[in-house]
Symmetry: D3
Subunit: 340 residues, 6 copies
């Protein structure tokens, strides 16, 4: 398909620290050491499904940055555009994550300020980067970091758009990064160059003031900002260990909606990154050979359901497993317990 990468994602790489098993953050003597970051998660999931992807970011040059780089490589994501921060105050942002159990909520403690990604500049990357990919993805988290990161992200979006890449954007609203008003003002400015837009129903309501049912909302985004594809995920949280997941997609060119029955009573091992995995599956369904919105729907839903059962932020899977999951989801009475 002509370009070196199917997708490049811009976003912060984070160290994730979780207590073991069912312990609380203030208990115990060990942390599980994992890597995350919304856009990185999307790139990893898509790479595991078969796309050629890379991450655009900036991380410390020291041993902890080295850990991050190795983990990214392990997951098959290219690090050519992963800039190094050699300064004395370089740091990898951290988030602490505690698993929940009903009625105890999962808990996130962020320690991501002043991290190396905030020093990222356009000069860190060669000009040919913009010509090298079929799709560029980033999210509202990157914009929410504010300052030069926000400006550079918007500038990058424009440059990728100019060079012919499709622009994918996930609102991913985080109340701890910015207010709803700030988010709306910023995002509505970049929406006209977005081709693929992800926004949850509640964010559409609360942040963008959208009303009506989810289908009306999706179409209204598409109409208002001329967006080719708009998608919303639908998650029902029965408890921290049991979710139901589905999604709706609107495609402008055919003026049609895509839906299927949700994955019910998912046995949630780790819900972090399951929204990102949806985008991984979605973009794979769209960008693979003969990709289309129906495939985006099916791969997106299956990838997200699968991610919920995998420890860590990232979708560890392979195309066969997702394909099989889709088939089982659609089959009637032909399920099997396991192959052996």
């Amino acid at each position: 398909m002509g370009k070196k990468f199917d997708m490049l994602a811009l976003g912060e790489v984070l160290l994730r620290l979780s207590p073991e098993g069912n312990e609380r953050l203030a208990q115990g003597t060990r942390f599980e050491k994992q890597l995350g970051g919304a856009e990185l998660n999307v790139a990893v999931g898509a790479a595991n499904l078969g796309l050629t992807t890379g991450i655009i970011s900036k991380i410390p040059s020291h041993a902890i940055g080295n850990y991050a780089k190795r983990e990214i490589r392990r997951n098959g994501v290219d690090t050519d555009y992963l800039a190094g921060d050699d300064s004395a105050d370089s740091r990898l942002g951290i988030y602490y994550y505690e698993y929940g159990a009903d009625p105890r909520k999962p808990q996130v403690v962020y320690d991501r300020k002043y991290s190396s990604v905030n020093k990222l500049s356009l000069e860190d990357f060669p000009e040919e980067m913009y010509e090298n990919t079929r799709c560029f993805h980033t999210s509202g988290i990157t914009l929410g970091l504010g300052g030069p990161v926000r400006e550079n992200a918007i500038e990058m979006m424009k440059k990728f758009k100019e060079k012919g890449a499709r622009i994918s954007f996930d609102v991913n609203f985080r109340g701890n990064l910015w207010t709803g008003d700030e988010a709306r003002d910023c995002i509505t400015k970049i929406l006209p160059i977005v081709d693929i837009f992800f926004c949850s129903e509640s964010t559409a309501n609360l942040t963008f003031g959208k009303t009506g049912d989810i289908k009306e909302i999706l179409k209204s985004f598409s109409d208002e900002y001329d967006i080719a594809v708009v998608a919303a995920t639908q998650r029902i949280v029965h408890s921290p260990k049991s979710h139901t997941f589905g999604s709706v997609i609107y495609e402008k060119k055919t003026d049609s909606y895509y839906e299927e029955k949700p994955y019910e009573k998912i046995e949630v091992v780790d819900r972090i990154g399951s929204g990102d995995a949806y985008i991984s599956g979605f973009l794979y369904g769209l960008l693979k050979e003969n990709g289309n919105c129906q495939d985006a729907l099916e791969y997106g839903n299956a990838a997200s359901a699968m991610k919920n059962t995998v420890s860590g932020d990232m979708l560890w899977t392979d195309p066969q497993e997702i394909q099989q999951t889709i088939e089982m989801h659609h089959s009637i009475g032909q399920d099997f317990e396991m192959k052996r």
Copy 2:
């Protein structure tokens, strides 16, 4: 509120040894090392919620006793009245606990005989101790240890009562410590000085011969022994990993009952200490500034539900989390998955 402690609890401190994860006691190569004991659990939970509490007990002076002392301190419970046993046969009582999974029951193996607490004497503690607290708590487990511990516990109750402390007592019947008849004979003798009484419905039936519904039972205890507040927890065990929990309280001075909908389908991580956590929350609701039975009910239920989701005997939480849990429990349709 004038005194150094809001609550002092008397009881045995136990080392708890559990196999890791889902292993059985006879499997594996490691034990999880934790600290427990019914009354200590109450003091810890109340301390985490904001009361100033201390433990009255006796532990070995050697390294294992040192472990216990450090754990108690870590949980914010005062150790001024934690006597040390320097003798050659000092020992910390132990219980082995194995988690269950339906249809396999959880399993407890006790090894608590001859432990240092049995050498506790009134001389181990200064007289001013009795003036230093607003509330004294102990349970039927302490009485069930028998011998001098039982006598000293009863003597302490009287001395605390004299000095103006409210006396809190949890029946906590353990068939492995004494018979129902022994328990009834002993407990009915001390009930006249009890101010706050906790007794489960089944124990009321089987041990105290009470009949009628739970409300009648609660009132009958209050009437018969002139007890200010009587409470009963109600636990439905769907399986070792799924419980429903609620309670009923009777308050003598207003002749009224307090109830709310139970916490349903709690995702049980560790059920041990959840009854003790109820008492922690209850006493916090009653003893905090402007405390009352309604708060006792709400904090008690929430604390117990929360404890079931926390590994170990003890309630690791903070007042904000319990407050938020209560709000979610009472809210309609406004739940959130997690804050981030």
Copy 3:
């Protein structure tokens, strides 16, 4: 009852490697190291329940074989007929097992070819072995290994039969070892000497071409091959973490069926070996003093339900626990949470 062993089982001993907790095979830095093998599992479970059992197999003489031998002994199974392979290419077969979480299936990767059991020969065992047991058990897995193992297994069956042992056989069809046609051709040849036969409904349908309901199928096997007892387990897989388990037995001499209500919503910790545990319980129920098909049913079902809650392939339990489980299963409204 006159002979040294109640039961001897022939089959491959396998090293099982699983990632920790909810990790995937390709994740993490450690494997749980366990021992398994269908027939060994049967021998272990039966030994834990009270039968005197032994394993007939061949394992390497090196340190990994030594690990296996020690684990077998720990579980109370005799190793007198466990031959050692001193050759340079001796190896213990391996299987990798990954736990599932809905919608992710559990996963098995086999690496069992060329293992030492394939070199097993009749010369490895003394002639008196055949006189030493009341029952001989093996399964379709052993026949499916093919080559000399299959021939030797059939030869052993005949020799044990001659010496008066009852022959127990579990179809245990594994599509990765042989085709359904191969299995049917081979198994139907040995069925005439089988006394106790285990076959699932789906295998009866697909492999043996049986039609009708499960009772008709069981009876048809018994009629056709003159088999004293035929049993089928019935498992409903709600999800990888929730199963329902029951069974049906047909006894020829009384022309009667044995059934009871299934164990519902078992909290599955590890489903591997739960079919083998059924046979352990079944054979214990049949072979113990005053054993009969009703006991076989009850012990079989309880043993399998219990096994699902225990980590590893093997049934770690004791007779009291299984007895108590059966009583609880049959009791109405008298359940208890745990004893303490």
Copy 4:
């Protein structure tokens, strides 16, 4: 060689709890769970080297006792004479062990009082036990437990002696069990029936008032009490992680001494049980086919050196490895790093 067992050992079985790695007893959240006991260690080591051995003791019938029984079996030691204690206050004695690092000493905390072994009585064992072994071993630890255990141990010694077993006895003086005077008075009474006697030089000096060099001491014991073989181990503790180990043996019938160069700068992983392993090797060297004092010396020293490098109380090894270790110890300039 005619009898069922080469050796039966009488002694307490202990649960050993150690913190992980270099942690202190009061640190951390896990204990390593192991099994120990001086005489059991001797039986295990000897079994691993090739003798047929069994343990005579009494342990609880509950899950922790079950753990012990399984571990003993795993190590190849017979449990026919392992009595079960069904009483409510049955308990397995415990010792907590913390590894040292210079200048920090290793630390032992005992919690072994009131354990089930103290209820052991002669009625727990069949009369034929006394005829079933070529050698009976016990130690001063068993005598030091006092009470009925001491009396029964002495009675057993006499009965085994009558039935023709050689009596092996290790002083193993423990200052926390009895005083030197008590030990001397008790032990000198049983020495006349002892055939193989182990006593360290310092204990010979301090407890038995022996003077002179170690060879004179050994001979004086032999002369005074008519003991066939007397041995003393010699350990130099450079630091908790570095020991040098050797021994001297005196044989009465040849009036000769056996010595060899010590194992120097052993890299100590776990020194517990290394004295017991010496006795394992010693007895193997003496009791194996064509055994003699020279073999006792070489196997004893190698077994002890090897044990120091193995985690836990017990000697996990095999005859080939010990044989190879002896050869390397005696070889000059022909060492190899490892075989591959």
Copy 5:
């Protein structure tokens, strides 16, 4: 001795993250989670030896801050003057520590900028704090943090001095916090109010331009700035796992030096905090009843040697153990391996 605290220490509380065992920072899947900070380490060590100590600092109010607070309490250090940071960007400073093995050096990666301690202000603490202690301790690390922390630290020193506390100061030069010139200019300004001064020989040379032997240097500091006691530690690093440690003290009032033979070939488990442990022991020796410089020397050296053998930053010990270590260090030929 009249005041509530023997010692209060001002300094940053740090989360320490280390890979397990011998892993590198970029390897593995877990971090050991520990707490550290030079001045906190001093307070903990002194508390474990018997002084009443507290920490002056500021930490986040969230779960990670809660972890820190609990760990501090566990170690017996008072948290009355531990201010909470409720702001959205509160953070606990972190350092990553990798153990070394010759020729690989241990490695430290700091991530401590922008942490909550930098927001500490004098208003966070009540005025009576300054009257409540016999000794105030801080170090060059606190001054090196710069900005308001440095100013507040100097102001606190003055206020404690005014209220009669002895001022203890450890240079603890860290090249990653400030340059030698900055350090010298700042420290020489506060030296006139310092009573107890710790400075290594190399820092005296390089940073303060001192020449001559260590005794001359110590005396010159004392003379120049009128300091009552000046001490220097002497560490020889044979390898990351083997150190030799000793110290020299100069006391002004007697114009005398204190020295003893060093602890040789310490088996280093974790060298971090061993310098702080020296100060713990030193201050205990000086501030305890009848304390003096000779005791300061002996307790300081023993505490540091001991700390090197303990995992984590902090000295987990008790007075008896240190006392025994000192005795063994001074004894000739009377060492013992362990007590049991």
Copy 6:
């Protein structure tokens, strides 16, 4: 330098399973899961130092193969020429490794027969592979696997040579794969096309019948087979935890030798792969910009010494660390303990 790769290595990829810490293979419940293989180790070490490297091999397509592929990528080695084996009997070879402690030897148990690498064929790789690298490396282990692997390896060597790559070969004699005679016959045939040759002194003596000192031996290989550079490592094994390491190099074009003082008393964490790391450092020193034999010597020795201190087969390091190690090795009296 014109080509895509600096080095491509051909060899088997192995799963390595080791017990935790100091446990023996037959003990414990977990295996450490790591990846190894002599030639892969060389490629990884060289990649960590800065060369662009890839591995030529064949691994299973299933989850265990996926694990291997991810680990290789994590270490920065290209997987373009890592063929996948989709067959039902695909397997990743395994070796079990147990650490030693004097006098216990480290132990290796191989289970590598029938692995997927044995199915490797020239058709698995594109012709352009041979033009894409500056250097090709393989070892006697690959030749020792025999059969088609040996033939293909020799054919590949020739094709790489034709295309201008330098041929690097390490004898790496393994007695468990082939005899010395087989090895000599095979290797002497390929030596004429080898440019860089690694052979230990003992192998030169025993296998190739070389006599004289190591310098004479190196030169004789170079003269006889026209080899540009010949190197021999020199390891002194003081104990499993303490080695001394150095090497000698002969360069034909200058007829000169390269030597330096060895790294003494290395604190060995894991000696496996330290020989391979020598080659990594050697090839980096030779192939980097302005590389030469002096750099090969210094990087080779430092890389090997460093590897001994790192857990696992592979050299986890970075160029700065090795550079610093070399500087410290050559410095006199200017060492530092760590930077902070």
